[in-house]
Subunit: 331 residues, 2 copies
């Protein structure tokens, strides 16, 4: 990946920043050869292992109001990271900090792809086998219009093709029943618009309405929904999986016999754990801006940062932004 | 439970009706002494083990249009079951058939509790330890108004008190961030109304906005949301848990060593499985109508029917409908 421009990583963003972020950056460089550029207050970063640093004096707090902060704090690590992408110094920006401010920085500094109504957050959801399902919008737009959802679906299909080499992505519209007549007003209107799209023209297939139980199934490649529902779904799954894993670990440690048996199972359970762990992907992507903008979990550990950077490098190399510009952008 | 009126069970409703339904009814009577009344076509029920039957000649199909079917098919098992409650012959109705038609039968035959805007489906969500969290609306109203959600929250609190003896139920409003300003327009408006309610008057507490990851946590007793989001959340959890259990079972069977170790773990894993299995509760309840209306999963096995009848008997004996009438009904 030596020919790839570095990923501009917001060293100051996230609950465990800068220590966990810098540690993750160093590991990603050493183990996977992913080029990384740190953005933030160099004097707070500790030993960066010689990584290039873009100095930024301000930090946008996790709970700060997004739009106002980005407009006011022009020397913040988030704004400087977005500028690095805009100026051709970085191939992507990545932050585990304030999600709203990350999106606002990308929007204001990189700009929207021409023709895109609204950017959307695309999050890969693990499935028991095979490729993840791309869920979008996972939280960028709490209120949506039907035509935005149609475009989210198109962007999601391009993502599945570029990132996971899916030849004909199957796209589902999240609803509360498979019948066309089921759903809230937004879903009913979106369903009508979706059936009028020529999906073959972009090499995808609309499979109709799907339900919550399909989110983690392998029968779909893309699930489209509004940003409120998408965010709730994502966090519900995270919480549910976390709860079950905690309950399992509790059971495994309940008696010496159980612990011994669990040790035997470890080699078969570990790949499963890695597959379903929320940190194993590590970053979602804001689709629709002129550059790769990666969003990490606020609670990201250094391992999550590493995984997020790996996912980011794959997204950069997939040429997704150019493909989105051709497929859904207007000239 | 000999002093309890029987539960009117729609023998014809569900993917495995009438066989699985009748088998579940017989088991509930024999093992738990729950009085059951079967409603439907007696000549299709097979051996009912001497259970009382209310004859009904029509069956509303799983995918039939709800309102029209209920109005037209006056001798259907669903309508007759609802009438049995209205007429004081049964303490509750229970169907694993067409959910919309079940709700419509209850609404049209039993009627709404005076003062209730809209009935809502309340579903208990399992948590790793302790009482389930009551999620409502789990699908009765795809489009909601803010004042309906406030009333759902109040009904949910009464449910948690009556059914699970929670002294001061903690009620959360499902959103995409804990801050008051986060969420879609409906949530923002609902939040304002919720903060103006005197929760102490009904012996509950409003804890503010909560997120998807709180759905399966023990820090809440009631989670309120619109019927679209609630249904998506419920099915997402069901699908996710099912996927993880399937993946675990696959890992357990992957080698003879793993299978032997899994056998040792079985006694500790079984209670967990029972806790998280979607069939372990077996029935949701439509809150806000003048009687107990229980809704089962279309795919209910006989075990799910047994569990649904047990949950139903507990709900009947909790006096929930009377308590709702006092707490949220208007005189």
């Amino acid at each position: 990946m030596s020919d790839m421009l570095p990923i501009a990583l917001d060293a100051m963003g996230g609950d465990h920043a800068p220590a966990a972020v810098v540690a993750g950056a160093r590991q990603a460089v050493e183990e996977y050869g992913i080029p990384v550029l740190l953005v933030g207050r160099a004097d707070e970063m500790g030993d960066t292992g010689g990584l290039e640093v873009i100095e930024a004096s301000e930090v946008i707090a996790m709970d700060a109001e997004a739009g106002a902060s980005v407009r006011k704090m022009k020397d913040s690590s988030l704004v400087r990271a977005a500028e690095a992408v805009r100026d051709g110094r970085a191939s992507a920006m990545f932050s585990a900090g304030n999600t709203g401010a990350t999106m606002a920085s990308a929007l204001l500094r990189m700009g929207r792809i021409k023709g895109v109504n609204r950017p959307a957050i695309a999050t890969p959801i693990p499935t028991p086998e095979g490729n993840p399902t791309i869920l979008l919008d996972a939280g960028a737009n709490a209120e949506c219009q039907a035509d935005w959802l149609v475009q989210f679906a198109q962007m999601g299909a391009v993502y599945a093709k570029a990132r996971y080499d899916v030849s004909t992505p199957r796209v589902g519209l999240l609803s509360i029943g498979e019948e066309d007549t089921k759903g809230n007003d937004l879903v009913k209107e979106t369903h009508k618009l979706m059936t009028a799209v020529d999906w073959r023209a972009i090499g995808a297939e609309f499979v109709g309405n799907v339900e919550g139980r399909d989110v983690m199934s392998e029968s779909l490649d893309v699930i489209v929904t509004d940003g409120f529902t998408g965010n709730v779904v994502l966090k519900t799954l995270e919480g549910g999986i976390k709860g079950i894993i905690a309950a399992l670990l509790g059971a495994f440690g309940s008696t010496p016999e159980a612990a011994a048996a669990a040790d035997v199972l470890l080699p078969t359970l570990e790949p499963l754990y890695r597959r379903f762990d929320a940190e194993s992907v590590g970053s979602a992507m804001l689709l629709g801006v002129k550059g790769v903008c990666l969003i990490g979990h606020g609670s990201s550990s250094s391992a999550a940062i590493v995984n997020g950077l790996r996912q980011g490098a794959d997204l950069v190399q997939s040429g997704l932004v150019d493909r989105l510009t051709v497929a859904v952008g207007s000239p």
